[in-house]
């Protein structure tokens, strides 16, 4: 029997992981840099660009807009996707395959195609440069994400819980409220979070249909890219990265800590 040497391949994987993480080692120091243009390593450090990111209206308004649009998109997407997910998992009906196809299609259609589509369509409906237009557009694009997460959760849902509730005399709506909904709550939260991030990060459509007053954060970042001069961009990037870091790392660390602790006895 041959013993397998695992070290070389692990080293390769580690180096590639380092390459994947590399940009973050740049963005964070850059955000504290005093350099007015892209310069690395930084000549000096201060907090001035963070201050501008959180006080300059050119940045606070887009941040606010992105949050409003993200929240609106999350609510509307979940309201539409949740019932559809129930229909897909629990019912058989004519045209189900077609429905599935339409629900998934926004995942594959390139964003630039939809940007052109909304630019002309919402132009005719007078919805360009409005919150409504962006929320409607982002809801379409987020629908597949929400459907995928919710149907996956629903498939593993044990329907015996509902049957037990019904046997005990609970009416369907009460069962839904007291049994189905609490069990599915984590899935709803995850779906909501993913949809929010999807909308918050979306750049291409926002570039074409958001106006001066509804500029989103990605659009503002893209524009300061083109001007190449605005160093607040690095502070904005670091804030976004830190948000992701917290969202990803905190649950991972918590899981690791729970694993290490001895499982508490359940009396």
């Amino acid at each position: 029997m041959y013993s397998e040497k695992t070290f070389p391949i692990k080293l390769v994987a580690g180096l590639i992981a380092l390459f994947i993480a590399a940009p973050m080692f740049i963005v964070i120091p850059m955000s504290f840099s005093t350099a007015p243009s892209l310069e690395f390593p930084p000549p000096g450090y201060w907090l001035g660009y963070y201050q501008r990111f959180f006080t300059d209206r050119n940045w606070t308004l887009p941040l606010f807009n992105s949050i409003v649009i993200g929240l609106g998109t999350t609510v509307l997407t979940l309201a539409l996707a949740a019932p559809a997910a129930f229909a897909l998992v629990r019912h058989d009906f004519r045209g189900k395959a077609l429905l599935n196809l339409v629900l998934m299609m926004p995942l594959v259609v390139p964003h630039i195609v939809m940007a052109l589509a909304y630019y002309s369509y919402f132009g005719a409906l007078r919805l360009v440069q409005s919150y409504t237009g962006l929320i409607l557009a982002h809801t379409c694009l987020s629908m597949p994400v929400a459907i995928l997460i919710l149907t996956a959760a629903l498939k593993t849902f044990d329907r015996n819980l509902e049957r037990a509730a019904a046997n005990l005399g609970s009416r369907p709506l009460t069962t839904f409220r007291l049994v189905t909904l609490p069990v599915l709550k984590p899935a709803f939260l995850v779906a909501g979070l993913f949809v929010f991030i999807h909308s918050f990060d979306e750049t291409v459509i926002a570039l074409f249909i958001s106006g001066r007053d509804t500029t989103t954060l990605p659009r503002q970042m893209f524009n300061s890219f083109l001007m190449q001069a605005d160093p607040v961009l690095s502070a904005a990037s670091s804030v976004l990265f830190t948000a992701v870091l917290i969202a990803v790392a905190v649950p991972a660390v918590m899981r690791a800590m729970r694993r290490r602790r001895p499982t508490p006895g359940r009396a």
């Binding site: 590639i16 390593p41 019932p83 926004p106 964003h111 149907t151 291409v204 990803v248």
Partner: protein, 278 residues
């Protein structure tokens, strides 16, 4: 009539109709409108398509787009495979570490990562500084070249590839490899005749998804790429913003859309569309 309406209301239709109608009005109709404009703006007919395919510049853009997507897909596959392999095969603390790095990168906005590459590859960045130190003077222009955008896109899509590969590799039974070793197969032989074939669905999934995403990539090529070697998405953007040529832009958008959906349909025919989310 009344009874059929009430039957409809009791069935699943009441659950899925809101979503279906929403997508019809705010997704399919705008999309059909693009197809319509490509044949009617400014004149009825296939003029926009003839103009596109007879322009050597535009055909060059289209070919360049496919070429770039192919390079990005292949490169990211080569780099993604070892990471997914180690994470799936050996797991442990190191495997979790790899997955956390990949997930972090995956969730970090494209713009943020593109910005990082702009700094790294820029005139005052570390790469240029290193090249100058090694005696390459004057240093080569890296930013705003096809190399820069291809490189950055590979980096952007690699986490996508790794997670898709990992999803398939995680389900490969470790005992197969041990059995092969027990029967006397050398590690490389065991890998090529057992592990690699079993991971093929992951390779197919990842490659098609990365290729399709790359075809329609707008942000990174526009920000980091060469203004001369455009990709089709950037070209569409120019037609809208600078030329206000909606007919021409629509025809290009249809070419991109047909290429994307065609590839996806072909892929789902061979690998089963539903396998992706079942």
């Amino acid at each position: 009539m009344g009874s059929s309406v009430s039957r409809l209301l009791r069935g699943p239709a009441v659950l899925y109709l809101p979503a279906a109608l929403f997508l019809l009005v705010f997704f399919l109709v705008p999309l059909f409108n693009v197809a319509w404009m490509s044949f009617t703006e400014p004149d009825t007919g296939v003029g926009n398509y003839i103009a596109f395919f007879s322009s050597s510049f535009d055909v060059g853009v289209l070919l360049n787009t496919f070429k770039t997507a192919a390079i990005v897909t292949l490169t990211s596959l080569i780099f993604a495979y070892p990471v997914a392999y180690v994470a799936a095969r050996y797991g442990g603390a190191f495997g979790s570490f790899l997955l956390i790095v990949v997930t972090l990168s995956f969730w970090t906005s494209f713009l943020v990562r593109t910005y990082a590459w702009m700094v790294i590859l820029g005139v005052k960045g570390p790469i240029t500084a290193a090249l100058v130190m090694l005696g390459w003077s004057p240093p080569p222009q890296i930013l705003f070249t096809t190399f820069a955008s291809t490189f950055a896109m590979t980096h952007l899509l690699m986490p996508f590839m790794i997670l898709t590969l990992y999803a398939v590799m995680r389900r490969i039974d470790a005992t197969y490899m041990r059995a092969a070793a027990g029967l006397g197969a050398k590690p490389l032989k065991a890998f090529t005749s057992i592990y690699l074939p079993l991971s093929l669905p992951g390779i197919a999934n990842g490659s098609v998804l990365v290729f399709i995403t790359c075809l329609g990539f707008y942000v990174t090529p526009v920000l980091l790429g060469s203004p001369r070697d455009k990709m089709i998405a950037g070209r569409i953007g120019d037609e809208i913003e600078q030329m206000l040529n909606f007919g021409g832009a629509s025809a290009m958008a249809m070419v991109l859309l047909v290429a994307t959906l065609g590839l996806f349909a072909l892929y789902s025919r061979f690998f089963g569309l539903d396998k992706l989310w079942k």
